[in-house]
Symmetry: C2
Subunit: 137 residues, 2 copies
Amino acid sequence: MKQKNANYDSGCPIAFALSVFGDQWSLLIIRDMAVKGVHTYGELLNGWEGISTNILAQRLKHLEETGLVTKRRDPENWRSFVYELTQKGRDLAPVIAEIVLWSGKYNTAEHAMMGTVEKVQADRKSFEVKIRNGDLP
Amino acid sequence: MKQKNANYDSGCPIAFALSVFGDQWSLLIIRDMAVKGVHTYGELLNGWEGISTNILAQRLKHLEETGLVTKRRDPENWRSFVYELTQKGRDLAPVIAEIVLWSGKYNTAEHAMMGTVEKVQADRKSFEVKIRNGDLP
């Protein structure tokens, strides 16, 4: 069954944001760059959640088109590329922080990763500032 | 082309949150309840972004199963139902606030709705408290 896409053009700020990063994968890609410090296609492909190569390529293209990610040649390996968050992408830091806090409260799974949750609980400001500056939080 | 679903079971707090509300539609449904004060199936169906009835039914079911939404008989019309956010759902208030602020910064569309953006910019705390209390912000 083909699913109808949302008419994100409603002008609503939530709908606008979802048109940029509101699918299953985009925010995980942004997380990999912002929090895990991942910058190559290969590293993104080997993320925790098992993204497929066609979806990764499609999402990266969309994130580039919407100005959240830039792509440039790797100066150390001219055949490959480096992906980086733009300021617009790094400005999602407070959204990421709030999502992490919410999950810390409600994810009761035994294998829930609590490291980042505890980091944000202890010093949310510094977590955000580091992402905004392009450092690893 | 069938798209592979993310293995949300990684334990990462971002992945956990996306497993609950990280699709195109769920956060718009949550927005309708939290910010627009919408509580019936018909009202949700007539939202700004044009959701179809099968997707709305599917997403509401998922939001119920994950504990963000409750469904009960409408005391004023026994044949219909009222949908409401639980505390877990209302606790997304800060996530919503940060998304609204980010979009306010980056949505340059002429028809961008700025009312909520200005409300959050002026008094984010009160916006969040109202959602958390189940009032309209």
